[in-house]
Amino acid sequence: MRARLVIGAMLAVGITAGGLSVAQCLRNQPGSAAVTPGEISVTQARTFQEYPLLWLGDSFEGIPLTTIIRALAQDDPESMLPTAQNSITFIYGDCTPPAEEGGCAPPLQIVVEPRCFNPPELYSYVASGPQPIRGGAAWLPGIPGGPILWTGDIAVTIFAPRGALDRIIASLEPANSAAVGSKLSSVLSDVSDPRGDLVAPPAEPCGRIKGRSRADLPQIAGMGGP
């Protein structure tokens, strides 16, 4: 009897573990589910179709990819500032938050979003202005909260120690090449060279920012107001 109980318990554990893992796998099948806000899998990032994603692969200089977060929210027109979100964040490394209060930031984060969710005109107050980098991409390192690289119709914020930024930019490559197909040419000059030149962002300013028309935006420094 004791042996049967042990075997039964092991079976239950095995089935439970297998069940959870199968569910986890299903969640990660390409195209199996819409990418909802929150943490997502590598597979979900690789099959993301809305816009090209640039990342650093599974690790960068020994720092592993630990978390991918999808942000998606609609604008609340009653809010003074637009509340729409549409981004994917690749987080490398980790940190230990202090007990009780306060968070901490992992050492390397790459945020990719449509250009008009974080356009250059929001930062026209930065005296240096964008500079070309890696081909035609526009790079603005002087943004106080985090520098941005614009290429094609995406904005890529890089949170990292300053001494690593050049190496990070050189290492950015598409995460979802197959999923975005022809859209890839909107960021890469030569789609066969994932670490080659990046294309320039469009010259014209965004008509809508975070989904809201300029006329409906409050006065934001550097933009000249509504």
Binding site: P97, P98, A105
Partner: protein, 262 residues
């Protein structure tokens, strides 16, 4: 039987190797070639107590602060000179990106001494409480302790509270007068670990940082309290912060409000 179970589990594990990234596999990771990654340690955390006052001690940082200068163009909003890094730090050395704690999302201007900010926070938002841990601000490449913090309730008020830490700028800023910068957020009490800034599902995708800023906009600015005109500036301080429950807070939208204090 046992080999079958083991084989099934092994099969599932192998088949699923391209699953979610492992969020528990690493802890603090060195940045091998990061010039600014060195950190000489420091405080972090710390117990409650509001008090404070402009008695903070500046600690020189080892590296230059991020900065930008203001070059207002005609018909554009002049922007304040950015003498501060738009994040609070969890250490009194303010050196390391991993010490970032909260984004700066409110700038009080005009006659914004820290005592004035404290008084107005009580008056407009009933942010009467001063409990919370100490954090630091980096200004002019030096690290200063905060001057004060104000909250809408005690630290363990359920389900949570609005809370901001703030520091008065060391010197008046041309065109903006006496300025204080603040990192405001809404935080929930987590019974197992302490405070966490709100997660994605808590507020229909709006972060706890943005919620607190909106509360200030509503109660100080457009609520008829006379702190107008409000203006805004984009800092892009949207870095993700891991909270004590192991999850990430929803990020700030990277925009700060400038609130005049007459």
């Amino acid at each position: 039987m046992l080999p079958l179970i083991a084989a099934a589990i092994t099969f599932v594990a192998v088949d699923c190797e391209d699953g979610p990234v492992d969020t528990a596999c690493v802890n603090v990771v060195p940045f091998p070639n990061g010039a600014e990654q060195t950190c000489s340690g420091g405080g972090g955390g710390g117990g409650g107590g509001g008090g404070g006052g402009p008695t903070n001690t500046a600690v020189p940082t080892a590296t230059a602060t991020r900065s930008a200068t203001s070059t207002p163009a005609p018909q554009q909003t002049p922007v304040p000179p950015f003498n501060f890094v738009p994040y609070t730090f969890g250490s009194r050395y303010c050196e390391d990106i991993m010490q970032f704690v909260d984004p700066v999302n409110v700038i009080f201007s005009g006659a914004a001494t820290w005592t004035s900010v404290s008084t107005h926070a009580l008056h407009h938002g009933d942010w009467w409480n001063h409990d919370g841990s100490e954090q630091w601000f980096q200004e002019l490449a030096r690290c200063y302790s905060m001057d004060q913090q104000s909250a809408s309730g005690p630290a363990w008020q359920l389900p949570g509270r609005f809370h901001m830490r703030y520091k008065q700028a060391s010197q008046p800023i041309n065109g903006y007068g006496t300025v204080s910068i603040a990192a405001a957020h809404h935080e929930d009490v987590n019974a197992t670990c302490g405070h966490v800034v709100d997660h994605n599902e808590d507020n229909e995708g709006r972060s706890g940082f943005d919620m607190a800023r909106e509360d200030i906009i509503d109660n100080w600015g457009i609520g008829g309290s006379g702190h107008t005109p409000l203006s805004y500036i984009a800092f892009n301080n949207t870095i993700r912060m891991r909270q004590c429950d192991g999850r990430f807070s929803w990020s700030s939208d990277g925009i700060a409000v400038i609130v005049p204090i007459p």
